[in-house]
Symmetry: C2
């Protein structure tokens, strides 16, 4: 129940070249035979098909999915981004401007040094 790279390519619609590229991005990693041949099982094939559909339906690129993977593998990067986005674009009500700015600067400083 495992396909070799060319077979996997024809049944998933990817090119063999792209299958190697997708693997290199860490998105779909087939097992290897004793001789080093890539072997794609049903799970990998399904992942490849849904990945293709995902790219098309949401207008996303492989690199973007790769970045999403990075976000899952580097939590500190994810939280850094969370914190940056969470920084309110306008000063919250009830806080004097100067105080608030000082607070934000201090916050960002600590976040970056973490």
């Amino acid at each position: 129940m495992t396909l070799t790279i060319n077979e996997a390519a024809t049944t998933t619609g990817w090119s063999p070249r792209m299958l190697r590229y997708v693997e290199q991005l860490g998105l779909v990693e087939p097992t290897r035979s004793a001789a080093g041949y890539r072997l794609y099982g049903p799970a990998q094939l399904q992942r490849l098909r849904t990945l293709k559909a995902l790219l098309e339906t949401h207008d996303v690129e492989l690199g973007d999915v790769g970045f999403a993977l990075r976000l899952r593998q580097e939590p500190e990067l994810a939280t850094a981004l969370d914190d940056w986005f969470e920084t309110t674009p306008a000063a919250p009500v009830g806080v004097p401007e100067g105080d608030w700015l000082a607070f934000e600067q201090d916050k960002q400083q600590h976040l970056l040094n973490r």
Copy 2:
């Protein structure tokens, strides 16, 4: 307490061109004067500085941050990616192979049509 684009550029280390680009990505959006001049307040200046630091310390590109923004603005894209990553790379134990694959295919189908 608001700076014009060239002033903002010199105090943040970005070039004016890049400030317009960052704005175009939706990452830091200054207010506008009556005549259309960009006006950067303390909050925006701070965001610009921390953004720069974020890029450098985490080896991220502006496009990546833009993609992270997309993830926040398009929750369906975020969940689609969540679901794709969550798909187990190997069949769970105790489930017959055929059943599991059919289940996964059905799941992905529904996810994509959502």
